[in-house]
Point group: C2
Chain length 455, copies 2
């Protein structure tokens, strides 16, 4: 028969089994973390009517959309999880309880130019809290706590959640009489880390934005405000009273910083950073970015913010919200690339592989059924192969334990348990064997998918 060359599309992540288990562990930890904060899971379709998905229209995203017709329908694959959320909330408004707290971990599609580390199909892990008419600022304060807990649970240590407030920026630019240019200025300032202060200054006084030297200096001085949270807030207090938007933003930022200790977030993992603005015009108040302290070049691994109006394209209801998104596929790629994936994590599909040494498989199957009743992951190796091949299979899977079950063991009502890491063999009862086999999902840092070498 003529063969078709099997291949996976470029820009689509498809993992080998061990890595897949590591990826799934990450997703499971994120899911658990979001659930602890009482977010409810959603699962919306990957396909939506183009008219609905592209209601906002235009923008850079539209070119990247996977859009096609099926029968008479003009369809598109979702390119983020926010638009489907907006549709869902508008559609089910009367049936939802507000604040509506949802998380969604799902694939989204963007037909970007294929290059290393860029994906056309990738997971996003989103949380959002949506209010009906209004939403308390304490929700903005909770987001960094959730992100802190999530990344810590994954095993990441050296990361920093950076928080700012768009109202502070907008208010500040209004003070300088630069409201018109504030969008362009913020997009430029946002590049500070990537291109440096000198280049930012050049762009600010360049023909496109056209500030004078004094204005540029004021802006660079402002965004250079640094220090502890208390120091930053104190410096910002110096601007109070000149613009109401600024003052509101400062109140909000202070409220976000205030309850951090109660939320259990150490100051080392959190910083007020006036340079971040997020590119999207969508955000109106608090904005978040999260960076790896030892790899700032990677950029933000988790971003989001506060918006005034989730679903304005679908409903007249005012639905303010605050949310954050982890680009999970890209994060996984970066972690692997930078050597952060924990190679000590057991990624075998089985805790124990049973090798029956008799023709009758009955005793091996009974033993497996018994061990599974203790929630152990168990495989009976039943193929007719040489002993060496069986052991090579155990090695290839990376199983931590093997059980040999031959005539002798069956007569004695025992099993021979081999610890594959130490090579040690013991003759034990099934119950004793169960006690020995430490389930790899149980405890310890060996179970965390990320091994952050930083302190």
């Amino acid at each position: 028969m003529a063969k078709v060359q099997p291949r996976t599309l470029s820009g689509f992540m498809e993992l080998l089994p061990a890595r897949q288990i590591q990826f799934d562990r990450m997703a499971a930890i994120i899911r658990e973390s979001f659930s602890l904060y009482a977010f409810t899971p959603l699962d919306t379709p990957l396909i939506e009517a183009s008219e609905v998905l592209l209601a906002k229209g235009g923008g850079e995203t539209e070119k990247q959309i996977y859009r096609f017709t099926k029968g008479d329908s003009d369809l598109s694959l979702r390119f983020d999880l926010t638009v489907p959320l907006a549709k869902y909330v508008a559609l089910n408004y009367a049936k939802l309880a507000f604040p509506f707290r949802r998380f969604q971990i799902g694939k989204v599609y963007r037909g970007e130019r294929a290059q290393r580390g860029r994906f056309r199909e990738f997971y996003q892990a989103d949380i959002d809290v949506i209010g009906d008419g209004q939403l308390d600022i304490s929700n903005d304060a909770e987001i960094p706590a959730i992100i802190y807990r999530t990344f810590t649970s994954l095993g990441l240590k050296r990361f920093q959640i950076r928080v700012n407030n768009r109202r502070i920026l907008n208010g500040f630019y209004a003070m300088l009489g630069l409201t018109e240019q504030s969008g362009a200025i913020m997009r430029t300032v946002d590049k500070l880390e990537k291109i440096g202060e000198k280049s930012v200054r050049e762009l600010l006084i360049g023909p496109d934005i056209g500030l004078n030297d004094e204005q540029a200096a004021e802006i660079l001085k402002f965004i250079a405000i640094k220090g502890s949270n208390a120091e930053v807030l104190s410096a910002l207090e110096g601007y109070r009273g000149r613009n109401t938007t600024f003052d509101q933003g400062l109140d909000e930022l202070s409220a976000v910083a205030k309850n951090l200790a109660a939320f259990g977030v150490p100051e080392t993992n959190f910083v007020l950073d006036l340079t971040i603005a997020r590119g999207l015009d969508y955000y109106t108040g608090t904005v978040y970015e999260t960076t790896m302290l030892d790899h700032p070049e990677i950029g933000s691994i988790c971003s989001g913010g506060r918006y005034d109006n989730l679903a304005e394209y679908y409903t007249d209801k005012q639905l303010p919200g605050v949310g954050i998104s982890i680009g999970l596929t890209r994060l996984f790629f970066v972690l692997e690339d930078q050597g952060y994936l924990n190679d000590n994590m057991c990624t075998a599909p089985a805790d124990v592989l049973i090798l029956p040494m008799t023709e009758d498989l009955g005793p091996a199957i009974e033993l497996a059924t018994y061990l599974r009743s203790w929630k152990l992951q168990v495989q009976v190796y039943a193929e007719q192969k040489k002993f060496k091949q069986k052991m090579s299979y155990a090695d290839k899977l990376g199983v931590p334990y093997v059980i040999f079950l031959g005539e002798d063991e069956i007569k004695q009502g025992k099993v021979t348990l081999k610890d594959m890491r130490t090579g040690e063999q013991q003759l034990l009862t099934a119950k004793e064997a169960h006690g020995e086999i430490s389930c790899h999902t149980d405890v310890g840092d060996g179970s965390k998918p990320i091994l952050d070498k930083g302190e």
Copy 2:
């Protein structure tokens, strides 16, 4: 602003929060069950090159495919999880350990005519064991054990796994000199439950198949063999020695039935049934169907079988396998429709909702952080609303517990815990409150997504 009417495409299941939690619980139990049997998770792209996905070509499925171009690429959405598995195994052959045991729970797409209970986007939950060159029959025996454990864990009781072997059928038809017509005969016999014996007989002697009365009678007599597993096997032994394919099939079926007790499967949930053949030509040996005893009209809720050659369109390697698939979205629809979903299952996103009665949210946040350290799902309700509205929110979410935290409680270092089901209120320490709040995910039949009223 002009609004776009928010809507979800017909044929796409999108659940409200409580039902989504129930659906996710089902998926989680299935995942855990597959993992206990040491299947490794896979996650392949939803989009594949059409050339790869449609390598087999033709067939009824092709019309239903979501196929489109993006740039120069001819792409298709996967319509099952088997073809992507075949591609994956052929592509990664050298890196995999065989037998390769994988599970995948993922969405697939078929543009079927929209009708009630038919979905265009739906989850399949598949397991397959793939051998390299050969695969022991004991793998076929394990499949019913996995299905039994999975459905039982979900809360389903009155179901029956029905097993047959295509070689027995093929061998039997060869004995009657009907090898040529065996495909058509099997497709007809497969309809026995739906259309009845009389109609099957008419089709068999009709112009398309053209059997004589004697042949039709032989066939109907054969597929009428019923009884305990021992009785069915004994009746089949009566045909032994007349055809080698038949004899091999009988050996295999006997082997599958033999170890059921060791696998822990009661005979009530398992039956040898000579009427099932599966429509697909793909299957070569063991075939499975699973029916709900009180709702046979629903048809099979979990089907599969043994095949000789997983990936013949991609590789010359002989890769026999055995697998089974649960159509999860349809199953969920049917369960809801028939009243099988457990309405006692707690589907609140939070185990406890904290209502702070002071302006300072610090104490409430600290309490929430403490309770989350015990893995409780906790929400702080921070909106400025009237007490009645707050309680109405708690009701709407269906949270089992509410904590009131006012000045009095804070002074005493206590909390007021209200059990929302009994209405009882207690003044407790945070530690005592944690003890009282039984996490809904913990124990008991109340945590099972399905409530099967059968015996």
